[in-house]
């Protein structure tokens, strides 16, 4: 018998993650680990992981890792990449980290066209702190701090930060994918591959936003969570390539 799915080289062996059942982080972690291997960048990669559920990502990724303060990932990544342009640098951030407390760092690193890749997990809530409202929370979505559902009159509208940065000239590749089933896995892997290749080719900044399940804080089963992404989240956040300037740069 031959094993068809080898354990990814850059994923630590036989760990059981702290993520809840059905959490999208595990799937994205595996995809990233596979791509680091397939694209042969794992040896020179540094991942900046966030404060949030993925704060312990260094227990899973078997590459050099730097933990960031909440929201500061792209500033740290900027420091790494500027000091060592030969390294492959990516951040892994959630929606609270990237689009609330780290908005300034996100926007300015993108606008400077830093040669980094941002993996952006959008699950429309603060996960690790227990399901509070995020900038990305959908209108009407109930969270612990919007118990009656997000009301735009009080709490504003869902923030489309990836659409925003995609308008910047320094952002070479931006895509939003919906991790809502097997096809979503394939699309996510393809998008991250394009984003990584953008950096490998020395073209500039790339970002992939992944609509990702948080069954625990959504108070749904994992299977229902995947349906909710497909039926509700994608209505607010349309998946697709938001900008692709790779052709202009080459």
């Amino acid at each position: 018998m031959k094993l068809k799915n080898d354990w990814p080289k850059y994923y630590k062996k036989d760990v059981v993650s702290h993520y809840c059942p059905g959490c999208g982080h595990g799937i994205v972690h595996r995809i990233v680990a596979e791509l680091l291997e397939e694209m042969q960048v794992g040896e020179r990669a540094i991942c900046v992981n966030p404060a949030g559920c993925a704060v312990l990502a260094y227990l899973y990724f078997d590459i050099d890792m730097l933990e960031s303060a909440h929201g500061r990932g792209t500033a740290m990544a900027t420091g790494i990449k500027r000091a060592r342009p030969d390294l492959f640098v990516f951040t892994y951030q959630g929606d609270g980290d990237l689009s609330a407390i780290g908005t300034a760092e996100t926007i300015h690193s993108a606008n400077r066209g830093e040669h980094i890749t941002v993996i952006f997990i959008n699950n429309a809530v603060y996960g690790m702190t227990g399901g509070q409202m995020a900038p990305t929370t959908l209108i009407g979505q109930e969270t612990t701090t919007s118990p009656l559902g997000r009301n735009p009159a009080l709490e504003g509208y869902p923030l489309h930060i990836t659409d925003l940065v995609a308008t910047f000239r320094g952002v070479i590749y931006a895509e939003r994918v919906s991790l809502d089933g097997p096809a979503g896995v394939t699309r996510t892997k393809k998008a991250i591959r394009n984003a990584f290749q953008t950096q490998i080719d020395g073209l500039g900044y790339s970002i992939v936003e992944i609509l990702s399940a948080c069954p625990t804080n959504w108070k749904m089963s994992p299977v229902d969570s995947f349906s909710w992404i497909k039926n509700e989240m994608t209505r607010e956040y349309t998946p697709g390539v938001l900008t692709d300037k790779r052709g202009d740069k080459k």
Binding site: M1, K4, N5, S17, C23, G181, V185
Partner: protein, 74 residues
């Protein structure tokens, strides 16, 4: 635990499985079910069904957030 049928063999590392059931939901062959037993973490885990063919499509391994599924060619 290995269950052999048809073309491929599916194995689930039951002690690492959190029972999220995504593999069960998306498997087109109905090869996986949730066990009645609990693992040490207290989860009902996914397990392969005997006498159901696995086509080796790898959807279960691609959707599993915990890397607990292994698929083998015959």
């Amino acid at each position: 635990m290995a269950q052999k049928t048809g073309k491929c063999t599916v194995m689930v590392k039951s002690e690492s499985c959190k029972g999220c059931s995504l593999c069960i939901e998306f498997c087109k062959s109905g090869k996986l079910v949730l066990s009645d037993k609990l693992n040490k973490m207290g989860y009902r885990y996914a397990e392969p069904v005997e006498d159901t063919a696995c086509t080796g499509c790898m959807i279960c391994t691609s959707i599993c957030p915990d890397l607990v599924i292994e698929v083998y060619d015959e």
